[in-house]
Amino acid sequence: MFTKILIANRGEIAIRVIKACRELGIKSVAVYSTVDRNALHVQEADEAVWIGEAPAQESYLNIEAIIGAIKKTGANAVHPGYGFLAENHLFAERCEKEGIVFIGPDSRSMKLVSDKVASRQVTEKVGIPLIPGMKNKSTDVGECMAAAEQIGFPVLLKASAGGGGKGMRIIKSRDELASAVEAGMREAKSAFGDPSVYLEKYIEQPRHVEFQVLADKYGNAIHVFERECSIQRRHQKIVEESPSPALNEDLRRRMGETALKVVEVSGYSNAGTVEFLVDKKGHFYFLEVNARLQVEHPVTELVTGIDLVHAQFRIAAGEKLWIKQDDLKQRGHAIECRIYAEDPENGFLPSAGNILFMKEPTGPGIRHDCGIYSGYEVPVYYDPILSKLIAWAPTREHAIKRMAAALLDFPLLGIKTNIEFLREIMTHPEFANGNTFTDFIPRNLPDWTPARSEELLSQAALAAAIASDKPKRGAFAGKAELLSPWETLGDWHIGSGKG
């Protein structure tokens, strides 16, 4: 096994990997940009190296700086997390040349699967079902227009080089195409350094279902079942769950087999995700392979008992796959909610600033993969993901209630977040019914704004006034008593209540 791993990432995923290192007695090295000097991942690592200024191009996307940090600290391996360089095959290739183990697929198969067009070509040959679409990626509006005409509107625009919804757009008609393609290319360039896009047939009201796979370097592979990730906003997943409410045993088996076939033909190794769209009739279409650990990997971990980060380490270190497909079983139900710094009341604009107070949800079945802390200043430069709240329970119904209860008692004050919006999803009857299609949010929660009764506002104003009525003798010393006049109150009973 490795003795020292550098984590070429930040935030909650860097901390997730650092904790995995700590459990295995592996030293961890964090990297950070100037603005991340006080970030939590720096505090949790054994070592940390400054790699550049705040803009990601100068730090977290800066291959030279990261290779330099690996060499300087003597790390044997690098874990890329998700985003940034995770699916950059040039980085993987560079690591291979430098004799550094890249914890992920080899650069050749990464290059193949991360190129959506190339991977379509390979998979089409072996009969894997695909959505009709462009044969080649493009940076030309005219070419896109011609392809769209041939496929037939509505079409879906995607960035060729990356995932996460960046650059993605539904184009309903000819008129919208030019500006949509231009904007998509700009976003693709900014996010992945490559403006190429491609178009495919847009499937209405589909579900997004993906299979987690693990493949070793010797051609052995298993799938670790599915995650349903249909609840999205602007093509960005925000709620994920496993098992999918839409799969029966037969469909699950067939999709799992297809996922393993994709892995086989692309020569993929390490952890990866095979994404599918499932339409209302239960037809499924292969979308792409995410050649990395996914944001939503914890739901799989909780349902199957597999530690995916440890599995990544072991495979990268050359171990043969130690689990058999038949040994795997899904148990109970897990749901993940992504906590974003964004303002649902104002078009989900990203929010940044100082976290004045936070209390992490805890309790049976609750996991919180967290990248922030009380007093942390959320910078404006990176993805607005703050943390991930994951709830496991024996049944889906119970997991939903557990998640809703955890979201209710999760103060995160000082910046705007989507916590209340997520609770709205958890308590929505269509979610309870498993009617989770990718249009869930526009269909069920269009223009959502939080309800605030005058009674609540009065109570809030009272709380705010009490909070501002500080005792005069200086800082809070950690004492629950003697803080202000209210603490001299006597004991209270039910029934002594409201005036």
Binding site: R186, E187, K359, Q459, A460, A461, W486, L489, K498
Partner: protein
């Protein structure tokens, strides 16, 4: 003390009753009494006959934020001797201008001076936290002035476009 949320002022007067175990309070002239335990700087319990309401609070300069029953309310404090201001005027979203709530880069201006625009019409695209965001018109009106161009960096609350609202 006066607190402003969404343009409305909440005037709160507190009168702790140390002996009875309650406080008397007035919020906008409405009087009530309430049992309260202050657990810590950030935690307050409100006690009524059938409910314990755990409430979290945090404050920063001119702001006090309360978290009750999963809902967050951020008040602006009105400092004495300073005139009252509304949340709208401080943040983006006033009727006569468009600004961004956080620093970003202007990607594209979608209108030009003199254009007639309608409520919610996209006016400018700003990139923040790696996502493009359309800022929409806060009213029907005419574009009065444009203060930034594509590629410019824009700070929190800086007016990007001014609008002459129409009735």
């Amino acid at each position: 003390m006066d607190l402003v949320f969404d343009g409305k002022t909440y005037s709160v007067e507190l009168e702790p009753q140390a002996v009875s175990g309650e406080i008397k309070a007035k919020v906008n002239e409405e009087s009530f009494s309430q049992s309260v335990i202050r657990i810590s700087d950030n935690t307050i319990l409100f006690l009524s006959s059938d409910k314990i309401q755990k409430t979290y609070v945090a404050s920063d300069n001119g702001k006090v934020i309360a978290h009750i029953d999963g809902k967050v309310v951020a008040f602006d404090k009105v400092i004495e001797g300073q005139k009252s201001f509304s949340r709208e005027a401080l943040e983006y979203g006033s009727k006569d201008q468009v600004s961004t709530p956080m620093p970003g880069k202007v990607v594209k201006i979608l209108v030009k001076e003199g254009d007639h625009v309608t409520l919610k019409q996209p006016l400018v695209i700003v990139e923040s936290m790696k996502m493009e965001n359309e800022l929409k018109s806060p009213s029907n009106g005419v574009i009065k002035s444009i203060h930034f161009a594509a590629g410019d960096l824009v700070g929190t609350g800086q007016p990007i476009i001014r609008i002459e609202p129409e009735e």
